[in-house]
């Protein structure tokens, strides 16, 4: 797997196993994550995409009985982010996540975006205002909400709420942004807006995206990993995976013959 050899890496997953109590959900996963590129994860339902993504921000630590094995090395400082010695909060400060369902907090638009900064102890008003505006511009939401920054976030539409969550994730300048099926709850217009946005964002941040939508993976990503039953079956440049997959299973999946 040297498809990424000419790209600088942001992270490298080595020999990752993951267990929900006794059930092994990830098996011996290896995967390089190229810096400022978009890596897509595809695969049939239940194959472990979400499980894999949530290793990157140690979300599994919230529930008892979950166990990681192996390494996820974060560059440039070569930090193994799944090591039990590393505080999950330290990891989450560097790696943000956008969830499948928009999950704004019961706060104003402003406070939602400022949340990550406030959690880090930042309370200077000017600084927050600057950051919030920048994040909302980045997430292509500023034009629509600039007059209702102090309205409750619940009053936004679903697509706007999801872009708000992207703004929230961006406001803290993360090194990696994780997306777990970010458009599966949205209509086509909102979906294409978010896809465009994701492609814009790769200029600044490394992106990992899980999607069920083949076209979406083909459209937005640079690299694609096909996962099946907790294992990476194929990993390559996206156009290669979608035009000349080297594994039969991958071909069957992307052409819709199973899954």
């Amino acid at each position: 797997m040297s498809v990424t050899h000419s790209y600088p890496l942001k992270a490298e997953v080595k020999n990752l196993n993951f267990y929900y109590n006794l059930v092994q959900a990830l098996k011996n996963v290896h995967l390089p994550i190229a810096e400022k590129m978009i890596t897509a994860l595809i695969g049939p339902s239940g194959c472990g995409k979400t499980t894999y993504l949530r290793c990157f921000n140690r979300m599994h630590d919230l529930y008892p009985g979950n166990r990681y094995e192996g390494e996820i090395i974060l560059y440039p400082d070569r930090l193994n982010i799944i090591s039990p010695k590393i505080d999950p909060i330290e990891v989450r400060m560097r790696i943000s996540m956008v969830f499948q369902k928009p999950n704004p907090f019961p706060k104003t638009v402003f406070e939602n975006v400022a949340y990550g900064l406030r959690v880090r102890g930042e309370n200077r008003k000017n600084f927050l205002e600057e950051k919030v505006e920048k994040a909302l511009i980045q997430s292509a939401l500023w034009g629509e909400v600039k007059d209702r920054i102090y309205d409750l976030a619940f009053n936004l539409s679903g697509g706007q709420q999801q872009r708000l969550c992207i703004a929230r994730a961006l406001a803290t300048d993360p090194e990696i942004l994780l997306f777990d099926e970010p458009t599966s709850a949205l209509d086509p217009t909102a979906t294409s807006k978010i896809e465009e946005l994701i492609m814009q964002l790769k200029k600044e941040v490394t992106i990992l995206i899980v999607t069920h939508n083949m076209q979406q993976a083909a459209r937005v990503s640079d690299f694609t990993a096909f996962m099946y039953l907790g294992e990476i079956i194929e990993f390559d440049k996206t156009d290669k995976v979608f035009t000349h997959p080297s594994v039969r299973l991958t071909e069957e999946y992307i052409t819709g013959r199973f899954g």
């Binding site: 008892p64 909060i89 989450r92 907090f105 019961p106 880090r120 929230r168 803290t172």
Partner: protein
């Protein structure tokens, strides 16, 4: 054909008896309110509303009776205030702990114990306040009288904690997991998540819990009747003996005031006052509960 009519009739009969039992509970409630209002009106034929609402003394059993309700109202508010000052913060903290921090094992033990706290008869709490807490408090506060508002107030607060904590906890647990995860994913600690996200998300439920707690405190009778002193006293000093509306009502009901006299009717005058106090709180609580449903 015959069977069909029979079944239909049976169905009708069931429907009718269900309706009847539903109506009967409404009827009973309405008649209680009606009797309360009726007897209270009788009272106001003898005593002016003005005197009732502004008079500073409540001595209906004296030779020269005074009918100012204020001492009973301040007594009620004072004890309620103390109880609430104990129950709301502690109840909220217990709820946060149980919903966000406690491991499953501790939850399993703590919840039945809390429920037990609510199952202890209130008389026991009353004597506990009088015979146990008051003497202890007197060691620290020498001018605390044997009967006072402070001690039953604190005990009542402890008594109400389970009501506040269980309703608050339910509303915190109802906050969807993905909202919680959203907070943790931003790098928040447990504490930050609880206070910045969970509490605001569960706000209407917590407010409802507070209102339930306050209504319980206003309506509580036994503890104050035993430990607060049965002395109508227009004061906000928690160290003095006082009397609450409820304690007055039991006190007079247990005595032998003759039916139909003004003294007898004071029960209903105090009752209607209590009724309006709790009614307004319940309306507030109803309004909050309706808001809960709007959020999620």
């Amino acid at each position: 054909m015959r069977k069909r009519t029979y079944l239909k009739l049976k169905e009708r009969g069931i429907e009718f008896s269900l309706l009847l039992s539903a109506l009967s509970s409404i009827f009973i409630t309405l008649s209680i309110v009606f009797i309360l209002l009726y007897e209270a009106l009788g009272f106001f034929k003898d005593v002016s509303i003005w005197e009732f609402l502004t008079g500073k003394q409540w001595t209906p059993l004296f030779a020269q009776p005074k009918f100012g309700i204020l001492p009973l109202v301040t007594g009620t508010l004072l004890v309620t205030g103390i109880a609430v000052a104990v129950a709301l913060p502690v109840g909220l903290i217990v709820a946060i702990y149980l919903s966000e921090y406690a491991p499953f094992r501790i939850k399993e033990v703590a919840k039945p114990i809390l429920e037990l706290l609510a199952a202890v008869p209130t008389v026991v709490y009353g004597y506990f306040a009088l015979l146990f807490l008051t003497p202890i408090l007197q060691k620290f506060i020498p001018n605390l009288s044997g009967f006072n508002a402070l001690s039953p107030g604190i005990i009542m607060g402890i008594m109400i904690i389970p009501y506040v904590s269980s309703v608050s906890e339910d509303s915190m647990k109802a906050v969807p997991m993905h909202i919680r995860e959203g907070s943790y994913a931003m790098g928040a600690t447990k504490f930050q998540t609880a206070f910045k996200v969970i509490i605001p998300s569960a706000f209407s439920g917590i407010a409802a819990a507070f209102i339930i707690g306050i209504s319980r405190a206003i309506g509580e009778t036994m503890v104050v009747a035993i430990a607060a002193g049965m002395m109508p006293n227009l004061t906000l000093n928690p160290l003095e003996p006082i009397q609450t509306l409820t304690a007055y009502i039991v006190g007079v009901s247990l005595g032998d005031v003759p039916h139909g006299t003004v003294e007898y009717k004071t029960i209903f005058a105090a009752g209607i006052t209590l009724f309006f106090m709790t009614l307004s709180l319940n309306i507030l609580g109803f309004w909050f509960r309706r808001k809960i449903r709007e959020v999620y």
